[in-house]
């Protein structure tokens, strides 16, 4: 069984949100409307599966702005492939997530 067929609708939605530019946990919650108890464990699982990767932002930049550094998530190459397959399985996925204001 391929990885994409295991991806639930919720996980696909979160992956789609990250792909569209929501990089932080709370932003993903805002975009998807999912509770934090669903989003964070899903992020951990997808990170463990290699679909997304996390990184801390630069300490220097955060210190200059007098705030703590944030951890952001980005989609990986295997994640993009899995998302493409998931979009075929869930055609309405693109419509569910609002495009972020960049």
């Amino acid at each position: 069984m391929s990885e994409s067929s295991k991806l639930s609708h919720t996980a696909a939605l979160i992956l789609q949100t990250i792909d569209q530019g929501c990089s932080y946990g709370f932003d993903i919650m805002d975009a998807t409307g999912l509770p934090s108890g669903t989003v964070y464990p899903a992020l951990r699982r997808m990170e463990a599966d290699g679909l997304i990767a996390s990184q801390w932002e630069s300490e220097k930049k955060a210190l200059a702005e007098q705030r703590p550094a944030r951890k952001y998530y980005r989609i990986t190459r295997p994640g993009t492939e899995v998302l493409e397959q998931a979009q075929k399985r869930y055609p309405l996925l693109n419509r569910l997530v609002a495009k972020p204001r960049r």
């Binding site: 932080y24 709370f26 934090s36 964070y40 464990p41 463990a48 705030r67 944030r70 951890k71």
Partner: protein, 495 residues
């Protein structure tokens, strides 16, 4: 705009929640985990402050988001490989099997609020006051099924019997009840004033009615009137008629296994047949009582043959489920012994060898597993047979009826089949569930080669050969092959 340094109580609450949830996260990941959550909270707080949207509602929503830190922390706990291995080991252990059955019994106790039917059985079966109380009904010579007694015959018994101390008729029904703004359909007993005298009951509140009135059980008083003393004298509509509450029964009162909740006392019962409860005098035998009651009924123009009147003492009736269970368990045990081909001969052989301790352990585990599962089935079926839903299946009072018998037969059979299958799927030495199933051979080449499945003990004590097809004459089709200590290191590595 400079960020506000004002510390909110809500933020403190969020941080405290993170601190508590953080205790669950493994120490190696705790710092990073806490930092991620705290920075997200900080940024959200600052964003809302700058946008001028920070309000109580937003603060509450932020706190609600922080609740997600607990499932997130739990994910970190369950994601640990060591913990997973430990859990797998625990699930396979024999103690976990026994603990899960005990947990099921405890859960049943919680769901039924303390196993009321089981408690009632013990209370009724051991109460000395019930030794002389009995149910009387009519069993026709031809045709099946028990029937009630004509009410005129009961009136004649009450007036002329010298062997009965007192006797009262009663009818069980399900009329619509309307009281305190609630409409319900409780189990109701219609009876006469002598009923409570027969049972020797004293009310908790009020006076037992001598002609007409309603008597409520403690549970109904609690649920309908919230234990308000003003319930006495309150109006209750039963069907189309209105009555007044005369008395409340004590919490310890119990009558019939299905526990009626409302008692309606009437001048007379107009039903064609009624059930009868009576109290006999000291030293009266069933035979003499049968003779006297038949003779009195004759004088009231009701002719019963000898032994058509049936008697069931309260105490004996209470223990009927136990006897039914013993019969069902014995029948199921014999059936399972025949069908499952339990290798008793091999057990005896092992007993005679030097592996006596292992046999004692296996037998002790099997017996404790069966006994605990039997206790669960006994309590579950007893509680279920007393529920309203069981009435559909036709179980009757005072005895438990065919529903309970079938529930016990099916339940005990299921327990025994499962216990034997579970025992076979366990290591012969440490009693852990076998794992790593490996298919061996080709099912199409049965004549040339052995084909089946091999299962291993996770501790490396041995492996089990389970053939795809077992001939009926081969009692030892499943073979257990013991492995010596030299194999152990291999299994420890693979765990």
């Amino acid at each position: 705009m400079a960020p506000s340094s004002k510390r909110s109580l809500w933020l403190l609450l969020c941080r405290s929640m993170l601190r508590v949830a953080g205790c669950l996260v493994p120490p190696s990941q705790r710092e990073g985990w806490r930092q991620e959550w705290q920075s997200e909270i900080f940024h959200r707080h600052q964003f809302l402050l700058r946008a001028g949207c920070w309000s109580k509602r937003e603060a509450f929503l932020l706190c609600r988001r922080c609740c997600g830190a607990f499932p997130d922390a739990l994910w970190h706990v369950t994601a640990q490989e060591q913990l997973r291995v430990k859990l797998r080991e625990r699930i396979r252990s024999p103690l976990m099997c026994l603990a899960s059955i005990v947990a099921a019994i405890v859960l049943l106790g919680i769901l039924t609020r303390g196993l009321p039917a089981f408690q009632n059985l013990l209370r009724t079966g051991t109460d000395g006051n019930n030794a002389r109380l009995l149910f009387i009904w009519f069993h026709p010579s031809a045709g099946g099924g028990d029937e009630g007694i004509p009410p005129d015959a009961v009136t004649a018994w009450a007036a002329r019997s010298k062997l009965l101390e007192s006797v009262a008729p009663f009818v069980v029904g399900h009329p619509h009840l309307k009281a305190a703004g609630v409409i319900a359909q409780p189990l109701l007993v219609r009876t006469q004033a002598s009923f409570f005298r027969v049972l020797g009951t004293k009310p908790l509140l009020g006076v037992l009615p001598t002609k007409r009135g309603v008597v409520l059980t403690h549970s109904v008083w609690k649920s309908l009137y919230r234990e308000d003393r003003r319930a006495l004298g309150a109006e209750i509509q039963l069907g189309r008629d209105v009555y007044h509450v005369s008395a409340i029964l004590p919490d310890s009162f119990s009558f019939l296994s299905r526990q009626p909740s409302v008692y309606l006392v009437q001048d007379f019962l107009s039903d064609a047949q009624v059930m009868v409860v009576g109290r006999i005098k000291q030293g009266v035998t069933e035979k003499s009582l049968d003779r006297e009651l038949t003779r009195i009924a004759e004088s009231a123009c009701y002719y019963f043959f000898r032994a058509q009147l049936r008697f069931s003492f309260f105490r004996e009736a209470a223990w009927i489920p136990c006897w039914i269970f013993v019969i069902a368990a014995s029948a199921s045990g014999l059936l399972v012994l025949l069908v499952s081909r339990v290798p008793l001969r091999r057990l005896l052989h092992v007993w005679r060898s030097n592996q006596r301790l292992a046999v004692i352990r296996r037998v002790a585990f099997f017996l404790s597993k069966v006994l605990l599962a039997f206790l669960f089935v006994f309590a579950l079926a007893l509680e279920w047979s007393r529920s309203e839903s069981a009435i559909l299946f036709g179980s009757r009072d005072p005895a438990a009826g065919p529903f309970l018998l079938w529930a016990y037969i099916v339940g005990t059979m299921g327990v025994l089949f499962w216990s034997v299958a579970d025992q076979r799927a366990r290591c012969r030495v440490c009693l852990r569930l076998l794992c790593f199933p490996v298919r061996v051979g080709c099912p199409g080449c049965l004549l040339l080669n052995w084909s089946g499945t091999e299962l291993f003990c996770p501790e490396g004590h041995g492996l089990m050969h389970v053939p795809d097809l077992a001939p009926s004459w081969d009692e030892e089709a499943e073979r257990w092959i013991s492995l010596d200590d030299s194999w152990k290191s291999l299994f420890i590595e693979t765990r």
